[in-house]
């Protein structure tokens, strides 16, 4: 398949089941809601070392938030429910409770309930106040700027992590420009996050390593500097490869995000130095969810 001169490989991306949650952070203005959200989703690019993958889903209008203030919706993904709950609580405590004027609410219903502010209440040292409003429990925790309002719990739901595609370009700036265009479009899709820095990862990995202690290592088949040294997957004109990783609440959500992302890359086309779109295919070893690129773009 070729779109605007860009070859779409007959391959698939592999993804795996995860647990996910969503929270809404509000503040006096969008600036401070975003600061808190960025802190909460920081150092959360990959479950390999961060414990979770997290990202900002979108900015919310005051009319969309529970307390009528500007807000930001964030999502956190982890391999298991226990890990997710721990990450959520730690991050809420260190990044939202501490952030001026912030408030924290559940962003998703159903599923299993996990603690959001339920245990942060103990920071109130006995001065915390509980309010049960319309069946939802809130905690008002006295803090130095007034009160930190948080919902007690949010939901944990089944999700999919690790959807991806690779952008193969003639130069590094062209690969990056294409990824930026893709991310801009993908951020408009609900229920997904692209957890890597700016949504783009340049150090794609393969499963396994020559070092026994490592479960993953550099994806040498896509490293342009190794073209003459390894079983390369790159043609001579490819000088740079970048990857976009997507976590979503469902396979369909990731499908949608991949479609608009790949389309945005293809819109730049071969004249912008984009030669191929491929995907992290590990021969079925990584996970049960398969995203066939050509089917998605059909």
């Amino acid at each position: 398949m070729i779109i605007n001169g860009v070859t779409i490989d007959a391959t698939f991306a592999e993804a795996f089941p995860m647990k996910a949650t969503r929270a809404i952070i509000t503040a006096q203005n969008e600036k401070w809601a975003m600061i808190s959200a960025q802190a909460m989703t920081g150092f959360a690019t990959s479950v390999i070392a961060c414990g979770c993958e997290a990202g900002i889903e979108r900015v919310l209008e005051p009319s969309e938030t529970p307390d009528g203030r500007p807000g930001v919706s964030i999502m956190i993904f982890a391999m298991g429910g226990k890990g997710l709950a721990k990450q959520l609580e730690t991050r809420a405590g260190q990044c939202v409770l501490t952030s001026p004027t912030s408030a924290l609410f559940a962003g998703i219903d159903g599923g299993t309930r996990i603690a959001l502010g339920k245990n942060l209440r103990y920071f109130g040292d006995g001065f915390q106040v509980s309010k049960l409003i319309d069946g939802k429990r809130y905690w008002r925790i006295p803090v130095m700027d007034g009160e930190f309002l948080t919902e007690a719990t949010t939901a944990q739901v089944d999700a999919v992590g690790g959807g991806n595609f690779l952008v193969l370009a003639e130069s590094q700036p062209q690969a990056l420009a294409a990824c930026e265009a893709a991310i801009e479009e993908m951020r408009k899709i609900p229920n997904v996050i692209m957890p890597f820095p700016g949504g783009v990862v340049r150090s794609g990995s393969k499963v396994g390593s020559k070092y026994a202690s490592l479960g993953a290592s550099t994806n040498d088949a896509f490293c342009p500097t190794l073209k003459g040294m390894t079983q390369t997957d790159l043609s001579p004109e490819i000088e740079s490869v970048m990857e976009i990783v997507i976590d979503g609440l469902s396979k369909e959500d990731i499908d949608k995000a991949m479609r608009v992302g790949i389309q945005a890359v293809c819109d730049l086309g071969a004249t912008a130095g984009i030669k191929r779109i491929s995907a992290g295919n590990y021969g079925g070893k990584l996970g049960p969810f398969h995203f066939h690129l050509q089917e998605i773009m059909a």
Partner: protein
């Protein structure tokens, strides 16, 4: 299916225990069986159809017409369904109510919604003393649900209240919120003496400044983030509480009762 309607034929001299006529108890009964039920009337037991004219068949939607202030225990331990009272109601309206909805067009007597657990109770007129309170000797009053009173309420509203909302459009009598353990009482009108007497936790939300009390300490003026959420939850009510002009988030906060554990609060609107 039309509402099961009980129309009072005459006003008995003695009080009537209406507790058998709740939706869940009538659900599996035939019309004739309901008519043959007996109600305690003073020392006597009287058949339902002796006191009431009956019509309709929907046992989950009960209407009591010509009601007056000696019909006690209406909606006792109601568990689902709706009861509409046209007229006044006696004491113990909605006692221990578990879910469902009760609406009264007139006034209600003592102990309305006392020890209520869940559901919605709307009173268009006034309510007597001990609204949403605990029965004498008991330690736990209302544990959940919402009570809306469009008129005034008597003394000790929310005594020993544990959870839920009591919304009063009119005035509240003395000892409003006394011995509260938690929950919210909102009063748009005036409050009486000894507001929040011995309250431990909970919120008294006032539109007008209360009488000064040495048992509450001033914590200053604040903009509280939970208030917009609380007012949003009132939007579905047919009440002044649902009006946009009723909501506010800037309050003077008083903590008390300091002679008790002092974790309660009186929030007074700053206009």
């Amino acid at each position: 299916m039309s509402a099961l309607t009980f129309t009072l034929k005459h006003r008995p001299d003695q009080r009537v225990d209406m507790s058998p006529l709740v939706c869940q108890k009538l659900a599996d009964l035939e019309f004739a069986e309901i008519a043959a039920l007996t109600l305690q009337n003073g020392k006597r037991k009287v058949r339902v159809d002796e006191l009431f004219g009956m019509a309709g068949s929907d046992t989950q939607n009960i209407v009591i017409k010509n009601s007056f202030n000696k019909l006690d225990f209406i909606g006792k331990e109601l568990e689902g369904g709706r009861i509409t009272v046209e007229g006044d109601a006696g004491a113990y309206l909605g006692l221990g109510m578990k879910s469902g909805e009760i609406t009264v067009s007139g006034d209600v007597g003592l102990y309305a919604a006392c020890e209520m657990k869940k559901g919605f109770l709307s009173i268009n007129g006034n309510a007597g003393d001990f609204l949403g309170a605990a029965l004498p000797g008991n330690k736990m009053g209302m544990k959940g649900g919402t009570i809306l009173v469009k008129g005034n309420v008597g003394e000790r509203a929310g005594d020993h209240m544990r959870r839920g909302n009591i919304l009063i459009e009119g005035n509240a009598g003395d000892y409003c919120g006394s011995r509260m353990t938690a929950g919210t009482i909102a009063v748009m009108g005036q409050t009486g003496r000894y507001l929040g007497f011995a309250m431990r936790r909970g919120t008294l939300l006032l539109w007008n400044p209360p009488l000064a009390s040495a048992r509450f300490n001033d914590c200053g003026a604040h903009t509280l983030a939970f208030l917009p959420i609380l007012f949003t939850s009132f939007k579905k009510l047919n009440s002044k509480f649902a009006e946009g002009s009723a909501s506010f988030n800037r309050v003077q906060r008083y903590a008390g009762d300091m002679s008790e554990m002092g974790r309660g609060e009186v929030l007074v609107r700053i206009s």
